[in-house]
């Protein structure tokens, strides 16, 4: 099917107004929403604006066998968000497929064929539910037409039911499998001919199932990879098993940018099983997604390669690393905290903050620190590459297949068309695997072994010491309050190295896509506001970590709002609702955000009413306002990110020894329409636990440019005893707004909510993460 620009008649009517007025008219409603994406090539926003855009051709995504088995091609990375199940459910629901007959096959890297495949930014369902519904609806129409042709009746007389097409007048039926061959020959109907199912006809989309807040509501339509996962059959990157595989590890420069002075490899080559030692060039700075360089050891199994690496004697050229070799966390933190006292680049300004602070009845001031962290998915980076006859084939757990393909092509000097990338399951991603440096490393090594597959395995030490680190950050805030405690002025300075430093000379300032993560989009209604961004240089590879800069921005803003409430002597919830001001839509451009997660601000403004609703829901469910015994307290935080809204309340207890118990978390979440509520709940639960780790435990520090943690003994992430005793997820029923992200928005408010709860329980204010042993002091 060609990418036609069929626009629906409704396109010129204000979409948002229309949506709000049309709840209930489901088919039409969805059609109305589509026009945002229907002009694929010209789109400024959303799925159509992504490289490769969207594709909704059923012949690309849906295959039906003669025996009735329906295979969906999944074009997004599965890293635990359940997308292979959820997208297939969306298409299967619209098609009318019997879930037991549904299989899912993973697409290879091919943006021209499958549309955008870069799985980050909490975009998969937000950008793909509509194309998948269209693909399902078109396939259903083709099956109906095929049946009508066979029976010689008008197509209007037949209709699809679950896995079959029926001619009601005569009671004739044909299964999807029986119709598949003739349906495939038909022309794909135009988008204008598609009628999507009404909500009442849906079996999966938007339906609660599985475990809902501790109760097994109903059987969950089985997860496509569930059985394989629990039986050990699921194939992650490390599990790709090809005949004749060689195994490799790399000793990388301990400091970003360092080179090699000398290598003594004779002992390594004597380790049984070691076949070869290869020097890998240090990438030019900035490194982007290129290999860091180092020395690769190739062997007959992973253990031999690791033993060989242990036996290497390498003298590193630290001079090549420049001042990265002086990078030390304590000194850097002190420098940023000092810089935070001086004005920086003004990002957003209204009113006169200096006057407001000067004239304030009361001034509040605080500086917050969040350290570097490593994403550390449980599956460390790993890739298999085979180079043969001028072509390369890669198998890897990657979030960004296109960048992977281009990286492999680049390092091998091949055309993209000669590189095939097979995307395996990801044993967690969290942003680490959006950087395919490890696949390029494998390709670089495989180049030396024509025809033989090479599996490059990162150890946990490699993963933590050579991460694309979450940016360290300092946020300094000042506020002025009047005699009633009402905020009159708000000054916020944010300092973090930028991810842009990976790709270009270090800008030392955050870019629009970083500031737009909750900094300039801060929605409080305060007469005078000034937001500044003083410089912060990068000394390590900085990269995306789940929720990205929303983490420090939410942590600082939500902690500070609580400090303001305390200074004003007011209830925290009442105070933040006052800060939010009257219900209104804040258009992103009016706060200097031209990014908005790539979405149309007309369709996705910052809606303070939605913010208020999640705050009210979380606090109500948590029993906000009730008396707490000594050492126990409730803490609230909320945040808008990835065009969704989250609020969390923690109920915690801290005993005299400083031992923290998290009794309960109440999470309210509004992502607009919900495709698969079961997995939305799972994402919220998981983000809650991960966020507890960010708040309490996780930190990577540097000394002389070298990461000081290297495994889970020192780089701490949450364990089962750290989880809340009870987690409750409250999904806001909101089919009327446009669909928001799910994978990331649950994370940013966790740390500030937890620290606010700790304050409520103990009176101890946390301004430096992780909490670590600060409670026992």
């Amino acid at each position: 099917m060609s990418r036609s620009n069929d626009t629906l008649l409704l396109a010129n009517v204000s979409r948002r107004g229309l949506l709000k007025g049309m709840a209930g008219a489901s088919a039409l409603l969805l059609a109305a929403r589509w026009d945002a994406g229907l002009a694929n090539e010209k789109a400024q926003f959303g799925a159509g604006a992504m490289p490769g855009g969207w594709i909704d051709n059923p012949n690309v995504f849906i295959h039906i066998d003669a025996d009735g088995v329906v295979t969906f091609i999944n074009n997004r990375a599965e890293m635990g968000q359940g997308i292979r199940t959820s997208l297939a459910m969306v298409a299967a629901d619209e098609l009318g497929a019997d879930w037991d007959q549904v299989r899912v096959k993973q697409a290879t890297a091919d943006q021209e064929k499958y549309g955008n495949q870069n799985t980050d930014g909490s975009r998969s369902m937000r950008h793909w539910h509509e194309p998948m519904r269209r693909a399902g609806a078109a396939a259903r129409l083709m099956l109906e037409q095929a049946a009508a042709n066979q029976w010689g009746v008008p197509v209007s007389e037949v209709h699809a039911e679950v896995h079959k097409v029926v001619h009601s007048a005569t009671g004739r039926e044909l299964g999807f499998g029986e119709l598949a061959e003739s349906a495939r020959e038909l022309e794909v109907p135009g988008r204008n001919a598609l009628v999507l199912k009404a909500d009442s006809e849906l079996r999966f989309i938007g339906k609660e199932s599985g475990l809902v807040n501790g109760e097994l509501k109903s059987a969950y339509p089985k997860a496509v990879d569930g059985e394989d996962i629990v039986t050990g059959k699921a194939v992650f990157g490390a599990d790709v098993d090809l005949e004749g595989t060689l195994y490799a590890v790399i000793a990388r420069p301990p400091v970003y940018g360092a080179g090699i002075k000398s290598v003594e490899d004779s002992a390594a080559l004597e380790v049984p099983g070691v076949k070869k030692v290869i020097r890998i060039e240090t990438a030019d700075q900035p490194a982007a997604f290129n290999p860091l360089g180092g020395v690769a050891v190739v062997a007959s199994n992973t253990w031999a390669a690791m033993e060989g690496r242990r036996a290497l004697e390498i003298e590193w050229d630290m001079a090549a690393a420049g001042d990265n070799a002086d990078y030390t966390s304590d000194a850097y933190r002190a420098a940023l905290e000092k810089a935070a006292q001086s004005p920086g680049k003004v990002i957003r300004q209204s009113g006169d903050v200096d006057a407001a602070l000067k004239d304030a009845e009361k001034r509040v001031s605080a500086t917050y620190y969040m350290p570097h962290m490593a994403q550390s998915p449980m599956e460390p980076p790993v890739a298999v590459v085979r180079v043969k006859d001028g072509k390369a084939e890669a198998w890897a757990p990657v979030q960004n297949p296109r960048a992977t393909r281009d990286g492999v092509a680049g390092i091998l000097g091949l055309d993209r068309e000669n590189v095939t990338v097979h995307q395996t399951l990801l044993g967690g991603g969290f942003g680490r695997k959006s950087k395919p440096d490890f696949v390029s490393e494998a390709a670089r090594i495989a180049k030396e072994f024509e025809g033989q597959p090479v599996k490059l395995q990162w150890s946990r030490e490699d993963d933590i010491q050579h991460a694309y680190f979450h940016a360290v950050s300092v946020d300094h805030l000042e506020a002025g309050l009047d005699a009633e405690g009402k905020a009159t002025g708000w000054l916020h300075r944010t300092l973090s190295p930028s991810i842009a430093s990976l790709f270009a000379p270090d800008p030392k300032h955050k870019g629009e896509f970083e500031l737009g993560m909750g900094f300039n989009t801060m929605p409080f209604s305060i007469p005078s506001i000034r937001l500044e961004n003083p410089p912060a240089p990068a000394h390590v590879r900085i990269g995306w970590f789940r929720s990205v800069y929303n983490l420090p921005h939410a942590w600082a803003i939500q902690s500070f709002a609580h400090e303001m409430a305390e200074a004003a002597g007011k209830d925290h919830r009442d105070y933040v609702l006052e800060l939010l001001g009257p219900d209104r839509e804040v258009h992103n451009l009016t706060v200097g955000d031209g990014w908005n997660y790539g979405e149309d601000p007309d369709l996705y403004p910052i809606d303070t009413a939605r913010m208020r609703r999640v705050i009210e829901r979380a606090t109500e469910e948590a029993g906000w306002g009730r008396e707490s015994q000594k050492g126990r307290g409730l803490g609230l935080a909320f945040h808008h990110s990835f065009v969704s809204y989250t609020a969390i309340v923690f109920d915690v207890e801290v005993d005299d020894a400083g031992e923290l118990t998290i009794h309960r978390a109440d999470i309210a979440f509004d992502c607009g329409p919900q495709a698969n509520p079961e997995r939305i709940r799972a994402q919220m639960e998981g983000a809650c636990v991960m966020g507890i780790g960010i708040a309490l435990k996780s930190e990577v520090t540097f000394q002389d440019g070298v990461a000081q943690q290297s495994n889970f003994d020192k780089y701490l992430i949450p364990r089962m005893p750290d989880a809340p005793k009870v987690v409750r997820v409250h999904l806001i029923d909101n089919p009327d707004d446009a669909m928001g992200g799910v994978g990331e928005p649950g994370l940013p408010p966790v740390a500030p909510a937890l620290c606010n709860a700790i304050y409520a329980a103990t009176g101890k204010r946390i301004r430096r993460l992780p909490v670590g042993d600060q409670l026992s002091g």
Binding site: L211, F236, W303, M306, P380, R679, A687, R719, P721, V726
Partner: protein, 153 residues
């Protein structure tokens, strides 16, 4: 030369004595359900059973293995393991799934030695198994379900 029984099958293996059982299972025998996560018994992704006892295969030299090894691939044939797997599916525990084989092996080991653990016993027993996706609350509920308790968390 090491002689190992894995999931009831005998293997004669030409591997160094100090090679961890994990890499013998994965790279030499070629069974991929047992995962590498940390290499120092910090995460539990590599958990197998040796004579029914949950063991971290990444720090167990192959020469130290005296009993019969069972891996996640054999749990469907184990009455307790099967129950645990089913509870995992019923409650939608897994997210990415990478750690879950190790979690199931550890949970099954627990239920074999303590068929009716209370919540605290489960938490203590599972504290060595990391899940970066943060599925702990569902893991706890699934172990309770496998142990015959009603779901509650």
């Amino acid at each position: 030369m090491a002689s190992l029984t894995i999931n009831g099958r005998q293997h004669e293996l030409d591997v160094p004595d100090n090679m961890p059982l994990l890499w013998v299972i994965r790279d030499v025998v070629g069974m991929k359900g047992t995962k590498f996560g940390c290499g120092m018994a910090q995460c539990g992704a590599c958990t197998v059973h040796i004579d029914g006892v949950a063991t971290r295969s990444c720090v167990t030299p192959v020469s130290a293995v005296k009993g019969e090894v069972q891996t996640i691939e054999a749990m469907a044939d184990d009455p307790v393991g099967k129950k645990v797997q089913q509870a995992w599916l019923d409650l939608g525990v897994a997210q990415c799934g990478y750690c879950q084989g190790g979690q199931i092996m550890n949970a099954t080991g627990l239920l074999k030695s303590n068929p009716e653990p209370n919540s605290q016993e489960i938490i203590d027993a599972m504290a060595g198994n990391l899940c970066r996706c943060g599925t702990y609350n569902r893991i706890l509920a699934a172990i309770e379900r496998a142990a015959g308790k009603e779901v509650s968390s």
